[in-house]
Amino acid sequence: MVTATSTSPARRNHASRSPWFHVVMVPFTILWLAPILFVVLVALRNFDDIAARGLGALPASLSLDGFAGALADGRVGRALVNSAIVTVFTVVASLALASAAAYALSRFHVPLRRTILLVMLAGNLLPPQILLIPVSRITQDLGIYDTLTALVIVQVGFGLGFYTFVLHGFMRSLPGEIFEAALLDGSGPARTFWSIVLPLCRPALAALTALATTWIFNDLIWAMTVLRTEAQFPVTAALLNLQGGFSNSWNVIAAGSLVAAVPTAIVFFVFQKQFVSGLLVGSNK
């Protein structure tokens, strides 16, 4: 597809683009993706081939040993399940709480609402390091240390400010007539929220879902802070352990890394538009 582009005559409105554009961009893009391509190649080679000819050589073998090794004792598989559980619960809980807070702050005259909103956002901007030690202690005191529940709760708390801020901006831009009509119809705040506000916020919620899913799935530091047992680890933390256990089996490590990267890559390819707009709402362009 890319080659076709570079050889095709310049036409239409991008006629002014120099043909050198593709001459530069095609190799650049290939180079950009090279780390991913190489990891794929390494994952598909067998151990003897890598040991004999080096990691940098092109494959002389083609095998799924790496994937078999990574998935064999079920550690990576279990970690993927843990990651999925944590991601689903965190995303749903975060967005539910954040949209409720955003609704209250954007459509009602809560005293100091602007200050509250900015303070909530500020919480999300804090360096996590300032929270790690006390958070770890609090989970121990509550008896939830080393459970997925702790990981979910901690990440909900830390992300809330950002999601609330984004949803607040979106809800505030909804036309006021809708709310007046709802009020005239005798709709209470709960029904208005559930049957009017949330459906209208679908684009913002979709963007935040795509963004939050990748963030939470990719988290490492919170997992290392509140979890200890490997059986509880999400896939990022489990992979680092895998690397310790298979320090020379690069095909296994490469295969494990790819398996861990696939879920977010799928989210990205399917929801690229939402993902990008999610990044933008956070920065208000």
């Binding site: 890319v2 991008h14 683009r17 961009m25 893009t29 950009w32 993706l33 090279a34 991913i36 940098g56 050589a57 409720a100 807070a101 209250a104 009602f108 005259h109 809560v110 602007r114 509250i116 900015l118 956002l121 500020a122 919480g123 901007l125 804090l126 360096p127 390091q129 300032i130 929270l131 030690i133 006390p134 609090i138 708390g157 830390f158 809330l160 036309p175 006021g176 007539e177 007046e180 005239l184 209470g188 990719n218 988290d219 490492l220 530091i221 290392m224 802070t225 990022t236 992979l239 680092l240 490590i253 990267a261 890559a265 989210v267 990205f268 390819f269 990044l279 920065s283 208000n284 362009k285």
Partner: protein, 314 residues
């Protein structure tokens, strides 16, 4: 603005009455349920973010091994930090990180945004390819690049093919190159994000200004710096604040690639803090490092917040 939209709609008196009451000052009652909508999330955040953050401050004035009671030691942790060579390395590395990571990803992201700004054939594909690393976790990015940097790995093999054998080395084991090797991996993942921000910023610029300048004989370079860049000031502020905040948080990728080694040469404040807190279990000392990270970040957090607050107003 809402008023302007509504006035010509010729609203029925009842509607207007409702609105007046809606706008009717701070005494307008907020239903109890709505209070709950706000207070539950707020309580969650206060308990899991602000309360722990304040605890870190008080812990930083204690010596605590995690068992028994924390022993108050006043400023001792901070005095020890001032004399701690590893802390100095971490601080210096963080400065290198802010400049290198920030500089390279902004230059890369901005250049790519300018190159890929106008739609055209292939542009969507190029953009997606550059975004892609951004969805891979930092931990996995670290593992990918470990493969790249291995002694017989693709980078050394590539240098060999190019006849640059003298450049080959153990990138991550060599104290001279390890930090930069990790930094490149982090930039690779960040460029896509910065490009997204600048693409949106460029969309908001006024093309007629550039055309006018072109008619006046300004070349592309001049047009970019004199016409386009000034219009990107808002994006620049956000990018700047986000980059510094991200730099101070950076942890995962260093942990995945070097754990701060070899000989602490890739230690950043965040990794050193983590080691002190959870490997050595010096909770007071670790908290003191965390407080330093916070103090370094706070100015940029405020910059970012101020911009968001202004955007909220308009």
């Amino acid at each position: 603005m809402t008023t302007m939209q509504r006035a010509p709609a010729g609203a029925a008196p009842s509607t207007r009455g409702t609105r007046d009451r809606r706008r009717g000052g701070p005494l307008r009652r907020v239903p109890l349920l709505v209070w709950m909508f706000l207070l539950v999330p707020l309580a969650v955040e206060l308990f899991w973010v602000f309360w722990p953050a304040m605890n870190s401050f008080s812990l930083s004035f204690t010596s605590w091994k995690g068992v028994g009671a924390a022993k108050p030691v006043g400023l001792e942790n901070y005095q020890r930090l001032a004399a701690d060579p590893i802390f100095h390395t971490a601080l210096r590395n963080n400065v290198i990180w802010v400049v290198g990571f920030g500089g390279l990803s902004v230059v890369g992201g901005l250049a790519l945004a300018v190159a890929l700004n106008r739609p055209g054939r292939g542009v969507g594909f190029y953009r997606s390819a550059i975004y892609l690393p951004m969805v891979i976790s930092l931990a996995v990015t670290g593992l990918f690049w470990r493969v790249m940097y291995q002694p017989d790995g693709p980078i050394d093999a590539g240098l060999g093919v190019l006849g640059l054998d003298w450049l080959q080395r153990q990138w991550l084991a060599d104290p001279d190159t390890a930090l930069y090797a990790v930094l490149i991996a982090a930039v690779w993942r960040q460029v896509g994000y910065i490009m997204v921000l600048y693409l949106a910023g460029l969309k908001g610029t006024d093309p007629t200004l550039e055309e006018a300048a072109a008619v006046d004989g300004a070349n592309a370079w001049q047009r970019f710096w004199r016409i386009v860049m000034p219009q990107l000031r808002g994006v620049n502020t956000v990018v700047f604040a986000v980059t510094v905040i991200d730099s101070l948080r950076t942890f995962d990728i260093v942990w995945a690639m070097t754990r701060g080694g070899p000989y602490n040469t890739t230690q950043l404040l965040s990794t050193y803090m983590f080691q002190q807190a959870f490997t050595v279990v010096n909770l007071g000392y670790g908290s003191a490092i965390a407080v330093v990270i916070f103090l370094l970040a706070i100015a940029f957090i405020i910059t970012y917040l101020a911009r968001q607050a202004r955007a909220e107003e308009s």
